[in-house]
């Protein structure tokens, strides 16, 4: 039982800097102790993650700061492999006896799991690595005063509310700083420093006479960059434009249901990539080991290497090395180097997302460094890398793609969506919908959503724009697992064209 005295001893140690253990030598020492204890207890493999996670969020609406949240946690998780089974224990109590207790718990859990396992865990070979890596940020957002962040959001609020017809605006700014240390019994020692940032807003216009409202969200994607990304983005100009578009959507005609050629902007298409390619190429989902949040997958191993997932334009690349990608690392939480590889090449499904442990589960499938835990207290398992539609050497422009559309719709921004538990049948909305007639943008539409099946949709892709028009979108919090974990992941692409896709009107009443 934890007494007030012992609880305060731990937390007081925090303020005194003992918990911070920021020095690498302190972490090395703690890791050495844990790994030695695990080895003595019979572990065939062990690792420890000692990490600090800082989160900050500012929230406003209609020129008022509604909430400011700061969250900080520091602790460690010990993972052991014994008798072919995993054990894991984590705590934020850094006292020596608690470290020993954590290792003992992990060993005990591994032994219990070993007794009931149906197959032993086998790990792909891995070298030892020593590294100190920092993600690609210039200004740590935590060094920026709150007042400056509030000013930025207030500027957005003011710009949006200045548009005639706009009734509401909400905005937020989020920053994450992860200070992650990894050590393993392979003799790896890896320090990684990761920053992510995102700011966004939503503008709403209301027609009180009709009881109708339309919203438009910011198109900025979250990024593995610092304050510089927030500062460089034209939020005020976009807030004005968003206000005007929300008002325009109120007056816009609803889309006429039917088949259209779609020109999908990167600010929209990232989510379709995430749901229809990112999730179904996770090997644990394909094998039925994982179904939480996103279900299993229609891309079963029998399809590997031969299934026609999309047209020749469809090249889906998984990449944990991509600059500013939210899932970018130098090493994953198995201590394996980050990789770049194709999931879909010239339309054919060729590989999965995998960890060391998963490599041997399907013949020919390699380990691809996708192990991740969202916190020191979370279990490591396979998480999505950045998955993107690679334009290869396309020379097309967005304008050229549009010019060849007689009856179509340009969609920007992501809206509500739905996809089935095998990632097969789906529906996606958006933020802004432009009607295209005879190669030209004509007017804004509303209530647009498209429906398709994953392979039919990607096989309908007949052009992607050149690399110069490439943008990264992404999700700050992608859920998976039980207990649930959150992962940040980016998806990049250029504008892409899809022929003859079924469009419905979401505003149509039965």
């Amino acid at each position: 039982m934890l007494t007030r005295r012992s609880f305060l001893a731990v937390t007081a140690a925090a303020s005194a800097g003992q918990l911070l253990a920021a020095e690498k030598s302190d972490r090395d020492k703690l890791a050495d102790q844990a790994l030695e204890l695990a080895k003595k207890a019979g572990a065939a493999y062990a690792d420890i993650r000692i990490s600090r996670y800082d989160n900050q969020g500012l929230f406003t609406r209609e020129m008022q700061v509604s909430n400011v949240v700061a969250d900080s946690s520091y602790g460690y998780g010990v993972r052991v492999l014994k008798s072919g089974a995993w054990g894991f224990a984590a705590t934020n109590d850094f006292r020596e006896k608690e470290l020993a207790a954590a290792v003992a718990s992990a060993i005990e859990i591994a032994e219990a799991n070993a007794a009931i396992k149906t197959r032993p865990v086998r790990l792909a070979p891995l070298k030892a690595y020593t590294a100190d890596w920092k993600s690609g940020y210039e200004i740590d957002p935590f060094t920026i005063p709150l007042a400056r962040k509030v000013d930025l959001l207030m500027g957005v609020n003011e710009a949006a509310l200045g548009v005639k017809g706009v009734s509401f605006v909400s905005s937020y700014l989020r920053a994450v700083h992860e200070d992650r240390y990894f050590a393993s019994s392979l003799d790896s020692r890896i320090q990684q420093d990761v920053v992510r940032s995102h700011a966004s807003f939503q503008v709403t216009a209301v027609d009180r006479a009709k009881g109708d409202s339309q919203s438009r969200r910011s198109l900025m994607g979250p990024t593995q960059r610092g304050w510089e990304a927030i500062e460089q983005y034209p939020f005020v100009a976009e807030a004005e434009q968003a206000g005007e578009e929300a008002v325009a959507k109120l007056k816009a005609p609803a889309v006429e249901p039917g088949e259209y050629d779609l020109l999908l902007h990167p600010t929209h298409l990232w989510l379709t990539i995430h749901e229809s390619c990112g999730h179904p190429t996770e090997l644990d989902r394909a094998l039925g080991y994982e179904a939480n949040y996103a279900g299993t997958s229609f891309l079963t191993p029998d399809k590997l290497g031969k299934f026609r997932y999309g047209s020749k334009w469809v090249n889906m690349v998984a990449d944990r090395t991509q600059p500013h990608g939210l899932a970018t690392v130098a090493y994953d939480d198995d201590g394996a180097p980050a990789q770049r590889w194709y999931l879909v090449r010239e339309g054919v499904f060729v590989e999965y997302q995998t960890t060391r442990e998963q490599a041997g589960l399907v013949k020919g499938v390699k380990a691809h460094g996708c192990a991740h835990a969202d916190n020191w207290s979370s279990v490591v398992f396979q998480r999505m890398p950045n998955v993107s539609l690679d334009p290869l050497d396309s020379k097309l422009t967005e304008q050229e793609l549009m010019a060849d559309i007689k009856k179509g719709i340009l969609i920007l921004g992501n809206g509500s969506f739905s996809i089935d538990q095998q990632r097969y049948n789906f529906q996606f909305g958006g933020q802004v919908f432009w009607e295209i007639k005879n190669g030209k943008k004509t007017r804004i539409l509303r209530d647009v959503a498209y429906q398709s099946r994953t392979p039919e949709f990607w096989n309908a892709c007949d052009g992607v724009a050149r690399r110069e028009e490439y943008l990264l979108g992404g999700a700050f919090n992608d859920g998976k697992g039980e207990p649930p974990q959150s992962n940040a992941v980016s998806h990049g692409c250029t504008p892409a064209r899809f022929r003859g896709i079924k469009v419905i009107s979401t505003g149509r009443k039965a």
């Binding site: 937390t11 918990l19 400011v68 900080s72 995993w86 039980e482």
Partner: protein, 78 residues
């Protein structure tokens, strides 16, 4: 920790914060989990986490700080 001790800690934090309202939540969570998939144990483990959160209000505005680091420093939490 008793209710009285928690109340005392909250009073200290309130004084340090110089704000009319503040709530302090202290928790110590022991969480064991075992998950099976395809008749195989997968993600399983045990976590022991002590944490604190402080939430302060000023009018309609709210600020929350969470984390073990901040409990011992009520002024910072507030």
């Amino acid at each position: 920790m008793t209710r009285g001790e928690a109340r005392e800690l909250t009073r200290d934090a309130l004084e340090a914060a110089e704000l009319p309202e503040i709530s302090i939540q202290l928790s110590y969570r022991k969480h064991g989990f075992l998950r099976f998939a395809r008749n195989q144990p997968t993600t399983s483990g045990l976590t022991l986490v002590g944490s604190a959160s402080g939430t302060a209000w000023k009018g309609k505005r709210k600020a929350t700080v969470r984390g073990g680091v901040d409990l011992a420093n009520a002024e910072k939490a507030a």
